[in-house]
């Protein structure tokens, strides 16, 4: 069929069958529908320019351009549908892939991304993001958490306590995300729960982005004395984003319960067959 979709009793995720990218989310339970395009992009890391010698590095995020480049405008996809899971496997490039999953009974979409080793052959450092673009009118506002407890309202190019003269339109709007970031148009809310702390922002109305991995070629002259460039197992990273589309009234309960389950996830311990009673009696 022309439409590629995975669904359970609460959610339907629809993918563009030409590009393989996510293109819409329906909250079937609350009859909400939102076009959401998700993809991976990378910012070219600055090594210093005529405005400032400051390079991107372990302490500093400073891209050379306002617009990131797409890792790929399409993905090779494979669809898996069983009674216990529906998945779309997306392969964007040799160093970027993702599995979008839906389990029965879950109200969120799970995006398990795998990024790395980030290629730097052309001598460009790369700062890789996952970006969600929607037509939501968010009025330059978005929300990020602080240690999973307090939610802070963020306003593009503004600071709550002083008049900001914005010199870094991208990095100056990035904030720490410990467990979640979300946008709302007052009617519905799109939240992304993370499984670790990441940098995040909303640089355009209706858009959300989270930085998932970086590989840089210069030191940022802030004391580390070497570029941020993992060479071992850390050069490839795998993580998960959990996507929630809900009504504003319902949203807080949803992301709070989900974030608890992500941070305090069940632990699995295996034991080969064959065991002996622990107590003699």
């Amino acid at each position: 069929s022309q439409v590629l979709a995975i669904e359970n009793e609460y959610i339907r995720a629809t993918f563009d069958s030409n590009t393989g990218l996510l293109m819409k989310i329906d909250n079937v339970e609350q009859k909400l529908s939102l076009p959401v395009s998700q993809g991976f992009f990378w910012y070219n890391a600055s090594t210093g320019d005529e405005k400032s010698t400051q390079a991107s590095g372990a302490y500093i995020f400073r891209p050379t351009h306002l617009e990131p480049l797409p890792v790929s405008r399409w993905a090779k996809v494979r669809l898996v549908k069983t009674a216990l899971v529906q998945e779309v496997h997306q392969n964007f490039s040799a160093w970027c892939s993702q599995v979008v999953r839906l389990y029965p009974g879950q109200r969120h979409l799970e995006l398990e991304w795998t990024v790395g080793p980030i290629p730097v052959e052309e001598h460009w450092g790369k700062e890789v993001i996952s970006r969600f673009d929607t037509p939501m009118r968010t009025n330059g506002e978005f929300y990020t958490d602080s240690n999973g407890r307090e939610i802070l309202k963020r306003r593009r190019d503004r600071r709550p306590t002083w008049r900001l003269s914005q010199t870094e339109p991208v990095a100056g709007n990035y904030y720490p995300v410990n467990t979640r970031i979300y946008i709302t148009d007052g009617h519905m809310q799109l939240a992304v729960v993370t499984d670790r702390s990441q940098g995040g922002s909303s640089l355009k109305d209706g858009s959300l982005e989270l930085m998932v991995h970086r590989r840089l070629l210069e030191d940022d002259a802030r004391g580390v004395g070497e570029p941020l460039m993992e060479s071992g197992a850390g050069s490839t990273v795998r993580g998960r984003h959990f996507l929630l589309l809900s009504s504003v009234s319902d949203a807080a309960a949803r992301h709070r319960l989900l974030a608890e389950e992500v941070v305090l996830a069940p632990q699995v311990v295996l034991a080969q067959g064959g065991s002996s009673l622990y107590y003699a009696r």
Partner: protein, 172 residues
């Protein structure tokens, strides 16, 4: 005997802003990882002892630290193993357990000995590489508690019926 002090110590060291933000040289970052990994070992002994005491069975427990990249020798190589799922939350959760396995058919039982619906799906990393498989089943885990599931690999479909017949008669 197990010991959680080394992990406590490592977690304390990792409160340093360089550990939290990654603003450290590679060898320092590697040492943070080394301290954490060294702390896990004695903690796993501690958890094994606790599970043995609580479940009344001494087991050769195995903590698969690389489940997120589908590596777990016990589930990949054993025909019969137990899966203990611990839930740290103060409320019951349903958790989809995913374990890397060899291709085949599996019979999964819940703590009450009832058969649990399970699936084996192919992994995405098998684009063009040797096929890899994951066993999925849904585990219901009580608040601040654990559930023990048993998994049998079945060589073919009719022995699956034999096993489920046996378990049904056993249940009767």
């Amino acid at each position: 005997t197990g010991d959680s002090a080394p992990l406590n110590e490592a977690m304390a060291v990792l409160q340093h802003h360089d550990a939290v933000t990654g603003t450290a040289r590679q060898n320092v970052a590697d040492d943070y990882a080394r301290q954490l990994a060294a702390g896990w070992g004695p903690c796993e002994v501690l958890v094994s002892n606790a599970l043995s005491q609580l479940s009344y069975y001494k087991q050769n427990f195995s903590f698969c630290r690389e489940l997120n990249i589908s590596i777990c020798p016990v589930s990949q190589n054993s025909e019969h193993f137990q899966v203990t799922v611990y839930n740290p939350l103060g409320r019951k959760v349903n958790h989809t357990v995913r374990l890397p396995v060899g291709q085949g058919i599996f019979f999964v039982k819940d703590p009450d000995g009832k058969a649990v619906v399970n699936d084996v799906v192919m992994l995405p990393s098998s684009f063009g590489k040797k096929d890899q498989w994951e066993l999925l089943f849904s585990a219901s885990v009580p608040a601040l508690g654990f559930s023990i599931y048993t998994v049998d690999k079945v060589s073919d479909r009719n022995s699956l019926q034999a096993i489920s017949r046996k378990h049904r008669s056993h249940d009767k």
